[in-house]
Symmetry: D2
């Protein structure tokens, strides 16, 4: 299996103007190496993130050019496997960043909350900081997406191209569907998390560097407006916006659109999701909030 | 077991100024009869809700006076059992109400979406409208709460007294913790749902009339600020506000407060919920949105 | 001119269940005495508001029963004059209350901002705290409204009944139009401000006790959905909601409705307000935010 | 005076990766030619915008390289004069775009509002569509800003670099202060409006092509976080975010910061803006909402 490593500087934006680092054929499986959201710069609990970090955050590996991908297609990225490339993960409290603090946008007059670094050891399928702070290995890709048509979007922001969604369902066994908006799609990924709760409350999950195995494929001439996820049992859509209710509206409207593509009447779909849909918060900390709407395949494609 | 039925007019507000219909002792289990959110007025798919319904919606059964309850206590309501008192449930599309429509508050210039009634038969543990629209029996209390200190809050609104939260975890086997803000607590409940997805997308779940068995208890002199839910395996807090991110902030801050009461350091709790918390949307349709934050007891009270 | 003073306890809610303190005929002018939002309890800069204040805040004078007012009518309250009944005003920083702080609803983990009282002397048409903090006398009614049909709404909250809008255009020379939802309308007012900026940033304006002269009138059988204000030169509508964009949507939609009542085509009105409307923030601190949309009468009722 | 015209394709992003079209010295006054937000493509009321317009919208003139500008400086752009280069302006209703409609982000299930084009003639200082739709000439720059450090931001979006703020105070006689984040600042402007109400309600103002006269200057080594505006009488700050209350928080916090730079104590400034600040909505339709906070210089720099 081919291995893809970033040859030079990591990109910090999703953009068509970044030079591809590799070309992949539909159907091909590759291993992609990623660094953590801090570019592996925070390594000990005695460090102060705000002294170390500048504006260049959340480095991605990419872009990867997908052969034959053209605007209007849908790119499939099946996550096969995630393997850590080191035996520890890092979390941190960063000043004016997170879900329960004043931020750059929810700008208030408070002093920042305490700054702090948390290092977890990876042992036997667990991430361990202490007896109390000990969580299972549940890896996923925090950031994944394609290049937008016009903008260069910060790797910190999720939007309709994917990006920094921080959605735990982007995990091994599931397939992410992404819009193709430029020739070759230009796929980027990074920000692997060894685990994360819904909401990513303090803004920093269990950040690791990793080797990620992905199989790419294409659906020709089927545009999608926002990212989707398919698991063995569920159909999911991701909406990213502010305020959070707009992310919820996008996610559920897109899921109705998906059901319509599967032959549903729109109003039946609206009714069905009222009774059997799921809706959870991926992140409540990034430039946009990401919400995930779901329906079990058992209800989406009943035999009737 | 004592049965409690509304003797006269159902209350449409949570208020200390409504006369109690019964008095219950801590430790007592009672059966409470409820009508559906439309006061059982919509009975067929040929009806037009906006012709039938006025401003008096979501009738509650109550208030029930809890002996010995005083402001500053916490009321426990353990949901033992929910039994339908008819063999069908109703859902509906109501003009300018729901999650994917302009509403009274998200006021826009669009014409309303189509109006419609959906009747489901209850059969063998399923709610069945058609082969496609067929969902399992997963009953819970859509509305539950106590009287606020000063206001009379519409039974359509959730807030820090509980109320119309539409949270599926208010279900048999779980205990709801509610603030006591007036003498006797003044407990109200109603709006039973035979099932509902997260978000209650169109605004109307599988509405039924029901017999609800609840055991009440009191924790003296322990005030709580917002409702909580305890299941056999999880601790949950419910925040209700707009925009939705404020509901998320309330829910997770309250869950940190709960962990602090259990002996946690605040910053450890903030870190733990980042990595292992859950956050889902109860409703995205009511006067306030309700979000539920959770932590598994296995992580909240580790042996370490 | 008849004078109306609160005979007993001030009401802290807008509710049909509060006993009227006076009856007024349409066309009558009365003088109403009000206390400040702290019920005149904070009198010196050495005091600590959080030690003094309980949950009973923003006392209103009322309700006043308007003879002949029935649900579906519109009540007109023309503000004739506002006179202070003491020679000083008070402002304050209250913990977890205000526009640039974490609050009960935007709940975060920060410590509160500093608490502080500011006393201003009224001298020669100015409010003076110091050379730097010296502002002109621009009095208005912070809180004004009628009883809702069902709820008892806290005097701290603005909504479609009016209430705590904190809109500086509720001032002498202007007429406030309020919905009548219960027999007699049940008018409440209070919370006089000697002056306030747009947004009421820290949450507490220049609070005074006052004598307010108001002429009441009725428009029979003309319901309005939200409060309106008419000045000699402008038509204004007030929307109160969260998030703030919902308040903006309500205010402008109501102003389009008003123009339609005056004979405009809906789409012409939408176009005209795009080019010539005004939209300012009354408050960004209360339970709901209040925004005011305006159009000059010169554009609303052109000779053409 | 030197005239600057776009030599080739107009840029649709604010980005450091767009080649400068001219270099200007601090102190220099230049005339800049701009096209309208539709790139002058909509010219008659019989046209259908959605047939004509693609994703490349709101073309800017630029970037203009400012000699000696370095990151950490502040760029001053004094608007001297705006002259239309044609005798008509255009407004339009665009499907799913505007303040009182479902949009890409506030995604709902409604059909779009009616689509429509409005052409206004410029005559004697007025914009005239009909006797009813007739508004004065009040020109300003809808879009103005500098290149961000990392991203390429759509010309449709306002943020901390300026951009599509749609703030009527960006007008002749006023000076816009912009952050310098890249060498040469890279100034872009366009989207001239012959007039606009606060909020830009339907999303499209009175759009014209124009000749804009601007004098540039630099303040060395004084970084600002968000755009500011200085008029002869007022200090203003612009916050752009969603939800709208976040834009309000940013604008007022930045105005407090400005007052602190002028020697104010932070808490005095918070108090002063409570009593004498202004806060209006520039746009309620763009990717972010823009709010403007103001204080009169008479209060900001009292003699005391």
């Amino acid at each position: 299996m081919r291995e893809i490593r970033q040859p030079g500087v990591y990109p910090y934006v999703f953009s068509r103007y970044v030079e591809p680092i590799a070309t992949v054929r539909p159907g091909e499986t590759v291993a992609i190496y990623t660094v953590d959201a801090f570019e592996d710069q925070i390594t000990s609990e005695s460090e102060t993130p705000s002294d170390i970090l500048g504006p260049y955050l959340n480095p991605q590996t990419g872009p990867i050019f997908i052969e034959g991908a053209e605007p209007g297609d849908t790119l499939l990225a099946r996550i096969e496997h995630i393997e850590p490339t080191r035996n520890w993960a890092v979390s941190a409290f960063i000043p004016y960043f997170g879900g329960l603090t004043a931020t750059k946008f929810t700008r208030l007059l408070h002093e920042p909350l305490p700054e702090r670094v948390w290092i977890y050891q990876i042992e036997d399928g667990w991430l361990r900081h202490s007896d109390r702070l000990r969580f299972p290995w549940r890896p996923f890709l925090g950031t994944i997406g394609t290049a937008p048509e016009i903008e260069a979007i910060s790797a910190l922001a999720p939007s309709d191209h994917g990006g920094n969604m921080d959605v735990p369902d982007v995990k091994p066994g599931n397939t992410v569907l992404l819009p193709v908006r430029v020739p070759g799609a230009l796929f980027f990924t990074g920000d692997v998390h060894a685990g994360q709760g819904q909401g990513e409350l303090c803004g920093v999950a269990l950040e690791i560097s990793a080797k990620v195995t992905i199989t790419f494929d294409l659906i020709k001439r089927r545009p999608i407006a926002w990212p989707r996820i398919e698991s063995p049992d569920e159909l999911m859509t991701v909406g990213s916006a502010r305020p959070m209710e707009d992310a919820a509206r996008i996610a559920y409207t897109e899921l109705i659109a998906w059901l319509e593509e599967l032959g549903w009447d729109r109003w039946d779909a609206y009714q069905a999701l009222t009774q059997i849909g799921s809706l959870y918060v991926g992140n409540m900390v990034d430039t946009n909030y990401s919400l995930v709407a779901k329906i079990a395949k058992a209800y989406a494609t009943p035999s009737g």
